[in-house]
């Protein structure tokens, strides 16, 4: 009897106190990979992991002469879960480099968390809220993937000048990344003279869009949609079912491969939708086509990598390149590594990437339009490249800051 009790206590004690069993090999470097492997953005999270692994495999799983050991952490796109997962990776698994997170407000939360661990280096995944790096940035948080406003470069002018739209309603999810996207779109569209009479903000994971669709004014020329993953699919199919006629303008993740490959009657509403983002499926740059080939070796890959795969690939590659530069030496609390990251300038599948003083990327942005390729798959056709877009969209930094933080109501041009 006593034995059983002692045994139980012992089991409990070891269970609660035993440190991670993974014995750290002398010659390995641990990199945390934080993405949304659950919830509404799970499909996006899985593709982002494919992108990150593409980069790891490109370097044969080694960085700075050491084997790369990837430790995964999962969130459900809520800031709380992202911080909890990041905390586990840093405090329990002991990663010194963390690549992630995926979604907008997660990025802001992880940036705040980063400030409490100055000796750990955080490299953004695909999170693209503006204020992750623009206001109150963290010294050890780097973003090689540009933000949601940058992704919109060229779209506002294009739909005003080429498509002739003068009045556009917006439908977007109600958190910081879509605010950033709407901001980026409206910055150019309103400047050109366009009007945005109605903005609808819907919660993440919304299933029923009938009231949103009903609230869109009839007289608008087009609808700007910035929804992601399952939300985009739900909205688009319901809009189609409701007999919606207005042409669409896509946010970067609305016409991404994660949506274009979805089953259902999306085809008719989607073809011809202009959008802008950090990737274009029909890009014929050899660097891009090579990346697509490498990416397709991953299990379950889409016909073309999503921008999440691309962003995580770029982030992971930056980590590996900087590790190579410092020969895997993180013994000084990552000081040298972060200095190497800050100065890093490298060729990605989508052109040169470098960082500004807030450690946010300056990179090429692509204007695209959804078309059907010869296999009957929907892809984003490259229309135009906007070279080297910076975070302030070419506006003077002080002037740009004066525009205020992005929100539901900023900007506005009714």
């Amino acid at each position: 009897m006593i034995n059983k009790r002692t045994l139980l206590a012992l089991a409990l004690a070891t269970g609660l106190t035993a440190p991670a069993f993974a014995v750290a090999q002398a010659e390995s470097v641990k990199i945390g990979l934080l993405a949304t492997f659950e919830g509404a953005f799970a499909v996006l999270g899985e593709d982002s992991a494919r992108g990150a692994m593409t980069a790891v495999e490109e370097f044969d799983g080694t960085a700075g002469g050491k084997d790369i050991e990837i430790v995964r952490g999962s969130s459900d796109a809520s800031p709380d879960s992202a911080v909890r997962a990041a905390r586990k990776l840093v405090e329990q698994d002991g990663v010194k480099i963390l690549v992630g997170p995926l979604s907008g407000d997660e990025g802001i939360a992880v940036k705040d968390f980063a400030k409490t661990h100055p000796d750990v280096t955080f490299i953004n995944g695909s999170s693209a809220a503006q204020d992750t790096t623009l206001r109150d940035p963290a010294e050890n948080f780097f973003r090689f993937s540009t933000d949601g406003a940058q992704w919109m470069a060229g779209l506002g002018e294009y739909v005003y000048d080429e498509k002739g739209y003068r009045s556009v309603a917006t439908v977007a999810e109600d958190y910081s990344f879509p605010y950033t996207q709407v901001f980026g779109f409206m910055a150019a569209f309103c400047k050109a003279g366009g009007k945005v009479p109605s903005k609808s903000w819907v919660p993440i994971g919304n299933k029923d869009y009938s009231s949103v669709i009903a609230a869109i004014p009839d007289e608008v020329d087009a609808i700007y949609v910035a929804l992601g993953g399952a939300d985009a699919v739900n909205f688009l199919s319901q809009y189609n079912d409701a007999g919606g006629q207005a042409p669409l303008i896509g946010g970067s993740i609305t016409v991404d491969q994660t949506v274009l490959t979805a089953k259902g009657k999306l085809r008719d509403v989607l073809i011809g939708t202009p959008a802008a983002g950090p990737t274009a499926d029909t890009n014929d740059d050899p660097a891009w086509t090579k990346f697509v080939e490498d990416y397709k070796k991953q299990e379950g890959a889409f016909p073309s990598p999503s921008l999440f795969a691309h962003a995580y690939y770029v982030g992971m590659k930056a980590a590996i390149l900087a590790l190579n530069e410092v020969e895997g030496d993180l013994s000084d609390g990552g000081e040298k590594f972060r200095a190497a990251l800050a100065d890093l300038e490298f060729e990605t599948p989508t052109g040169m990437v470098s960082l500004d003083e807030n450690r946010n990327a300056i990179a090429d942005i692509y204007l695209t339009e959804v078309t059907e390729n010869e296999n009957g798959e929907l892809v984003n056709k490259l229309i135009k490249t906007t070279p080297q877009v910076n975070q302030t969209l070419g506006i003077d930094r002080d002037e740009f800051m004066a525009l205020g933080a992005v929100s539901r109501d900023n900007p506005s041009c009714e």
Binding site: K4, E38, R408
Partner: protein
């Protein structure tokens, strides 16, 4: 509902020394918990230890309602969230909205009080119903609060919620440091646990259990059934509120994700996994759930870890409908003295009416 929630009664307590009254089980547990910081890393201290105690307290408030009152509530995380948002609004945050900067000794009790009043209000609405309808009403309340918090920017700051909520520095100690935070959680949880144990044996607790078993008879004898139930909700609100304050100090932030339907069901899972018969159940459940949610991803990888968590929970409930408490009862040493295990056993001489 009553079957699932048949908490024990032990009406004949002979006079014993306080040591005997506490019981060997409790003493062993207390010693282990007190020396736990000596063996555990910082991560295990806060992310597993502290977090389990906090979730355990929220589940304890559910156990109090479900076990003794027969009222299963899905709104306990909402009550904790109310306390959390109160801390964010009246304390300090760096989201740039509100943050009145009250000192901790003012905002913490205020938050707990406000949460308990909200709990009483939810209870007052819910006591008109029974069984599955109570679950439905509290689920509706939880869902409504979640969506309201997510879409209201004036008061709740919408989806991002509040961040930059720091635990106080008082008496020369920063209470979010691993060891102080752990002991703070442990102390609060112990008080809540002892209070529930005491309340269950008090006149109020016994009347509540009698009301659970036969409200009509109790009403006929002259008991105010509604008042007893609402009072139980208020007590549960105090516990959940205290846990809510600890939760925001733990996370350093609060957002609608904290009080969404997922976490609400999580609390129910914790209570069921642990067992509803004794106040120790929710804490056992919390440890298992937190461990699973933290480490399942290391065992089966990122794609399927939620499946593993689900299977383990199913297995526990399948093997033992009373959760871990039921497992303990099955394998516990038969010579157990006057400790809490006999308290659990006491349910077998419960009389059903």
């Amino acid at each position: 509902m009553t079957d699932l929630a048949s908490a024990g009664r032990n009406t004949s307590l002979p006079a014993r020394s306080w040591l005997e009254r506490i019981g060997t089980g409790h003493i062993l547990l207390a010693v282990f918990l007190l020396i736990y910081p000596l063996m555990a890393s910082d991560f295990f201290l806060t992310q597993i230890g502290g977090y389990s105690l906090v979730l355990g307290m929220i589940a304890l408030s559910l156990m109090l309602l479900a076990g003794y009152g027969g009222m299963v509530s899905l709104a306990q995380i909402t009550v904790a969230g109310a306390a959390g948002y109160t801390v964010a609004i009246f304390g300090e945050n760096n989201s740039g909205i509100y943050g009145f900067g009250w000192p901790w000794w003012l905002y913490a009790p205020f938050a707990i009080l406000l949460a308990s009043l909200m709990s009483a209000l939810i209870g007052w609405i819910a006591v008109r119903t029974e069984g599955i309808y109570t679950i439905m009403i509290t689920l509706a309340v939880a869902t409504a609060c979640f969506y309201f918090a997510q879409q209201n920017y004036a008061l709740f700051n919408g989806f991002p919620g509040y961040n930059g909520l720091r635990a106080p520095e008082a008496f020369g100690v920063y209470w979010r440091d691993p060891v102080p935070y752990y002991y703070l959680c442990l102390a609060t949880a112990t008080i809540a646990y002892a209070a529930v144990l005491y309340a269950a044996r008090s006149t109020f607790g016994l009347s509540l259990q009698a009301i659970r078993d036969n409200p009509r008879r109790m009403r006929a004898i002259g008991f105010d059934v509604t008042a007893h139930k609402v009072f139980a909700w208020w007590l549960a609100g105090l516990i959940a509120g205290a846990a809510g304050v600890l939760l925001v100090w733990f996370n350093g932030r609060i957002s609608p994700g904290t009080i969404s339907v997922g976490p609400a069901i999580n609390i129910l899972v914790i209570a069921i996994i642990g067992g509803l018969r004794h106040p120790i159940g929710p804490f056992l459940g919390a440890v298992v759930v937190v461990m699973m949610q933290t480490f399942a991803i290391d065992i089966v990888g990122a794609e399927r870890f939620n499946t593993l968590i689900g299977l383990v929970f199913l297995a526990i409930v399948f093997v033992s409908p009373d959760g871990i408490l039921g497992l303990w009862e099955r394998f516990k040493p038969r010579t157990g003295g006057e400790d809490w295990s006999s308290f659990v056993k006491g349910r077998s001489d419960k009389t059903k009416t």
